[in-house]
């Protein structure tokens, strides 16, 4: 079977034969950059159409069905529309920050892509503190939202940004703690090692109940961190019209929109890596025949399958639940999620020390 690592190796070998080391590195970097940007473009298109179809089916509608076969090219048409729209800057806005904010949102999302293992031996940057890097970078995204809210010179935007600040700062905690549970079990911060440690079973199965609790906390926390319903208080359509991006239009709005979906993809990818074994295929004990079939499926398919399953879960939340109020949102974090994850991490530590996990 084909795999990403083989393709990468072929390119690498060909480049090394043709150019010297420096040029090889530079060209590889350019290729990686282009790949990331195109991945984002594709992701944006795929996730938007997916969200629209999922919501439509849950709402007993057909969804987009006019552009392209079964409406699959709808998001392409939307992008085109957004591209040609006028990007307006409101009067009295802080022009520099106003224009900078969407790019920061986008940059954060791109940076987060670096340590993710998309397939077997296929990773942009396997740094040894991958988990720490992810939590560190993802907390920058709040700055872009605050910047957008402040610079818009709009009270709705400001309220949305303030809400978002409170929300992301609090939910970082339980997201971090639930990630820590897996770090404790693995004993490493490196994402590739975390994946490798799940060769004989995913952590969600190996880690007993504490891992499941950590998984649920993680999903809730990342839903909040990416500002998705039921935690979309920063946007809160029926309260703040569109929250922090009320004043954005055209491509700048599209960048926020894209960054939201990119963030969803990334947190789901992290979730899949930590809890569902990343690109590791699904194995059952000694069923060798079954395991071989599972191995035959390419590792990238496993990775994207798991990630999209988690993305679907988050979309499912969005199209089912009402939105929380700001004080209830913080209550949920400080009164429920944080104590639970703290107790949970104690349990996990005990389990790791006593080697109770498989």
């Amino acid at each position: 079977m084909w795999s990403f690592s083989k393709i990468a190796n072929i390119i690498h070998e060909w480049l090394s034969q043709t150019f010297n080391v420096t040029w090889t590195t530079i060209i590889e970097m350019v290729i990686a950059g282009v790949a990331v940007i195109s991945l984002f473009a594709v992701l944006g298109l795929v996730l938007v159409i997916m969200e629209r179809k999922v919501s439509a089916w849950m709402q007993i509608r057909l969804g987009p069905n006019r552009v392209g076969p079964k409406g699959l090219l709808q998001s392409l048409a939307d992008t085109l529309k957004l591209l040609v729209k006028e990007g307006m800057t409101p009067n009295g806005a802080d022009k520099f920050l106003f224009n900078l904010a969407p790019f920061i949102a986008m940059m954060v999302a791109m940076l987060l892509l670096a340590p993710i293992a998309f397939a077997k031996d296929f990773q942009l940057w396997d740094l040894n503190i991958g988990v720490l890097y992810v939590s560190a970078i993802s907390s920058i995204s709040v700055i872009s939202i605050l910047m957008a809210g402040w610079a818009s010179n709009n009270k709705y935007s400001l309220l949305g940004a303030m809400r978002s600040g409170a929300q992301i700062v609090s939910y970082e905690l339980s997201a971090g703690l639930s990630v820590l549970a897996i770090v404790v079990l693995t004993g490493s911060l490196q994402l590739s090692e975390i994946v490798n440690s799940q060769a004989n079973g995913w952590w969600i199965f190996k880690g007993h109940i504490p891992a499941i609790i950590a998984f649920i906390t993680f999903i809730i926390a990342v839903t909040a961190e990416t500002n998705r319903a039921p935690f979309d208080l920063a946007e809160a359509e029926s309260e703040l019209t569109a929250g922090f991006h009320t004043e954005y239009s055209g491509m700048k709005f599209a960048l926020f929109f894209l960054a939201e979906y990119a963030n969803v993809f990334i947190v789901c990818a992290i979730g899949a890596t930590l809890f569902l074994g990343g690109w590791m295929p699904f194995h059952i004990g000694n069923w060798n025949g079954f395991n071989n079939i599972m191995d035959w499926i390419p590792s990238s398919v496993w990775f994207f399958g798991k990630t999209f399953f988690l993305i679907f879960l988050i979309m499912w939340f969005r199209w089912t639940f009402p939105r929380l109020r700001i004080d209830q949102l913080l209550n949920l974090e400080w009164k429920y999620l944080l104590p639970i994850s703290m107790v949970n991490i104690l349990l996990v530590t005990a389990m790791a020390i006593l080697k109770w996990h498989f």
Binding site: W57, M58, I60, R61, L62, N65, F317, T320
Partner: protein, 165 residues
């Protein structure tokens, strides 16, 4: 006592958490059901289903005046509809015809109908003593020029049907 209280608190706490998760799961089950059951979809693909789209015969789309094959209508020009209309939608312009036996007879010249003023209240049709006008089941009324909404209901050259007084 304090310990017992803590136990009770913990019990309630855990009960809360599980109750919450259960209520959320019920909702997700419902949306999940609709996600997988596409037969429940109720969308009508409007411009595509024009052939199969049947509006009920009572639907009030616009006022029309039916003419038979001899280009004859039933309107006597009595202006009952004009009086019944709350918005001044209908204007009856009358003229005098000469009947075969030489008498002058009142008849309509034009029955002007302003679709842009009409609220489809059906009062004119109720008021008409000779059933000359009725509601049509059309509903795609948008035009590019407002003037096109002012219509003359009787066809050119039409005359009143025999026997209608």
């Amino acid at each position: 006592m304090a310990f017992l209280k803590l136990i009770m608190f913990l019990k309630d706490y855990i009960k809360d958490v599980f109750g919450a998760i259960k209520s959320l799961a019920t909702g997700m089950k419902r949306t999940g059901y609709y996600f997988t059951h596409h037969k429940e979809i109720i969308t009508q693909q409007y411009p595509d289903n024009r052939e199969t789209l049947h509006l009920p015969e009572r639907f009030k789309g616009e006022v029309v005046m039916p003419h038979d094959e001899n280009n004859e209508h039933r309107c006597t020009g009595c202006t009952a509809c004009e009086l019944a209309c709350p918005n001044g939608t209908i204007k009856v312009v009358t003229k005098f015809d000469i009947t075969p036996d030489g008498k002058k007879k009142k008849a309509i010249d034009k029955l002007v109908y302003h679709l842009e003023l009409c609220t489809m209240c059906n009062l004119c049709i109720e008021a008409c003593p000779s059933d000359a006008i009725k509601m049509a089941q059309t509903f795609e009324h948008s035009v590019f020029d407002r003037a096109q909404l002012t219509k003359v209901l009787n066809k050119p050259g039409s005359k009143i049907m025999d026997g209608v007084e």
